[in-house]
Symmetry: C2
Subunit: 440 residues, 2 copies
């Protein structure tokens, strides 16, 4: 048990937009970010889009004095872009790479190559087990229609699953990152309802930042202004979430965001705004604090969760329909390529008998067409495999959702309205099944 | 807390070798497996290599009466092959797909297409949270040299990571499956040392099966006898592991394996032998049982763990060296393809000036060579991306191992010999950091 309470934790989160040679003023901005972190000395800094490990090492060298512990999560082709700098020893790290992450042929979007993931580090601060998660979800390139929505919903599903399953032993859970979702989007609701995580922006005692907590704003010279105008000049897509436990109560004392241009600097830190928050950790008397925090978890909340999971399942089904159609198209095109190849071979065979040597055999066209057929066959085979894997992943997520719905509905049926009063979601979930009626 | 103790749990595990149209007598063997499960009525049956969902659904239909709850883990192109049948409601399911899993171009090995993974289901039996894991690791096609060893070691590393991180809230942890590793292999030592999981074969009060617990034997008509002769007629690569908790003590009452041919049947259930085990769950007085189970965790054990992780790290480094070499070869071949293409274009340009129209332009050869160059460029690009991802995954695992070693060595340094006496590995790991000295 902790020696000293309350404990104050200062958390920083920023999408660094660190694509070497492509992002504007990348090196200078990393210098500015390093300066900021050195000066502010947050307990933990959660960075996203640190696409180059070289930049991570530059930061690591610079922050050696203030943040001696760090971890870069490697994933995909470039690396996940996720980095953690900590004043406290990192005891353990674990990475979960999302199953779905866009398409490799959409190379200009690049998400697939990044290997988006959720990283977890374990800290021990004043004897408390602090589980810190950092993530970056698939970007939203177009809101309506958003062809990546099913992928992002599955990522949100996997994110909440990962957090729920891996944080049973935590005193405090913290999640920071660029979730690429607006506060009322399905994925955010899914994440919060299922895990009980609280949004710093909604919970903070004091806020200093852009209106509505926007983290992607028109005032930032690196953003595409046209995209943000429909949303009132900005959107909130970067978050810090937190959750206490039976033994620890957590409150958000303050939250601040940068506001575009940095005073005294020629440009901002990134195309996203940075979040800084201060959390206060209090002891709580044997679960009292915990139930205080989450005592509003009633059957209504459980019904809401059922609705949200149902909505997510519908979205996944839409994605499944698309993926199945794409797989079918790949198969059909492949078969056409094969038919063309066979036809060509037939044509090549026929002149030997019909035309003899009267006409020269069109060798060049023959080889070109043959090569084209092989290319079609090869590419459609690759696409068929890729879409097949996408279908399996979407089906897998849908199966898990169906299973979860069955379990949630069973609980709703078993407990009459009001019976959940005073019990937290975490108490109700399967890691403490003593609150459940036996099924067998 | 559980109403009735002791609780008896009967667990079944079998690699079904269920490749439709390729595995011998596949349909008949599924019928036999279904009959066996119907008759034996284990609490939980963990199946591997159920490659076709159709076969899963056939089993599901057949076992509807005895095992009303089931889950099939979908992953990769074919599905992970992992299936769970349970007499008790499955409250939640979660899948972790291993980062490394062989190579897609080794299609005849097929592991990559299977998307090997570890699946977890949550059961609530008599009020106890039972976390059941099922997995299937990459096959060992040749023991010396085993080109897949680094992949399997990373899988074992991820498996122990997944179990450690997700089972903090468990009363009982059970892991079953085909681990494709001999009992003294690095991956098994890593798994057991880090998680504290106990091997049923070593712990059972009564054993009935083939000598040394072999699960892949020469007596089985489906196995390649030549491969097994060097190992004394069989190997043990299928396991059931278990672990209790602070509140529950687990003992293995019996373990049995099938012994090749099934009496009264024309062939065995599979090319692997099936495992059946009976676990008994006792209450334990506030951690007493737990420390009884694991009180032998001393500094010696911790040193051993450091050695094992170091050994694993070395193996990963060997794999990393190979992957980097392959990536380099892909890049070099790609550059050669590009050079050939440029050379060809140069040759195509030259005759216009030098030879004029004296000689006909060799169109066919030109196009053929061009197509070949494009094919080389395309394939090497794909390979370069694939090997790049393999490198990242191996580096990521190595980073995690280095981090873990740092933390383990810090503990070893901080505690003089004997200070760990009576503390379990789980108590020492980061989910209960109250046993650690603060670092800051």
């Amino acid at each position: 048990m902790p020696a000293e309470m309350p404990v104050r934790l200062r958390i920083f989160s920023l999408n660094c937009w660190g694509i070497r040679y492509l992002s504007k003023h990348c090196a200078q901005r990393y210098t500015m970010i390093g300066d900021l972190l050195s000066k502010e000395q947050h307990d933990v800094a959660l960075l996203q889009e640190v696409w180059s490990e070289k930049d991570f090492h530059v930061l690591k060298k610079k922050l050696g004095g203030t943040h001696p512990y760090s971890h870069y999560f490697k994933s995909g082709f470039f690396g996940s872009g996720l980095a953690v700098f900590s004043k406290h020893r990192i005891h353990d790290a674990f990475l979960y790479k999302y199953t779905l992450n866009g398409y490799p042929y959409m190379a200009h979007h690049g998400d697939w190559f990044g290997g988006k993931a959720v990283g977890k580090v374990l800290l021990n601060i004043s004897g408390l087990a602090i589980h810190v998660f950092v993530t970056h979800l698939h970007a939203e390139y177009c809101r309506e229609p958003d062809s990546y929505l099913p992928h992002r919903v599955v990522q949100a599903w996997e994110l909440q699953n990962f957090i729920r399953h891996t944080s049973a032993g935590a005193d405090v859970v913290i999640l920071g990152g660029d979730l690429n979702m607006h506060p009322t989007d399905l994925g955010i609701r899914l994440l919060q309802s299922y895990t009980g995580l609280k949004d710093c922006y909604n919970e903070t005692a004091s806020f200093d930042g852009f209106e509505q907590g926007f983290t992607h704003i028109t005032d930032n010279p690196f953003t595409h202004k046209q995209e943000l105008i429909p949303f009132g000049g900005g959107i909130r897509i970067d978050y810090v979430f937190f959750k206490g436990s039976k033994s620890v109560d957590v409150s958000c004392e303050s939250l601040s965001t940068t506001k575009g241009p940095v005073p005294g600097q020629p440009f901002p830190y990134s195309d996203h705004e940075a979040l800084s928050t201060e959390l206060e950790l209090h002891p709580s008397e044997d679960g009292k604090g915990y139930s205080n925090q989450e005592k509003d978890c009633t059957t209504d909340k459980l019904s809401e969760l059922v609705n949200i999971v149902t909505e997510a399942r519908t979205e996944v089904k839409v994605g499944l329909h698309c993926a199945e159609r794409m797989r079918y198209t790949a198969a059909r095109t492949g078969i056409m390529g094969l038919a063309l190849l066979l036809l060509e071979l037939a044509i090549a065979a026929v002149p030997c008998f019909a035309l003899g040597t009267e006409q020269p055999f069109p060798k060049a066209s023959f080889y070109l067409l043959g090569a084209l057929c092989f290319a079609i066959l090869f590419c459609t085979t690759l696409l068929y495999i890729f879409y097949g894997m996408e279908v399996k992943a979407l089906q897998g997520a849908e199966d898990q959702m169906r299973l979860a719905l069955g379990s949630l509905q069973e609980r709703l049926k078993a407990f009459p309205k009001g019976k959940y009063e005073g019990r937290s979601q975490t108490e109700l979930d399967s890691r403490d099944p003593s609150t459940l009626e036996p099924d067998d």
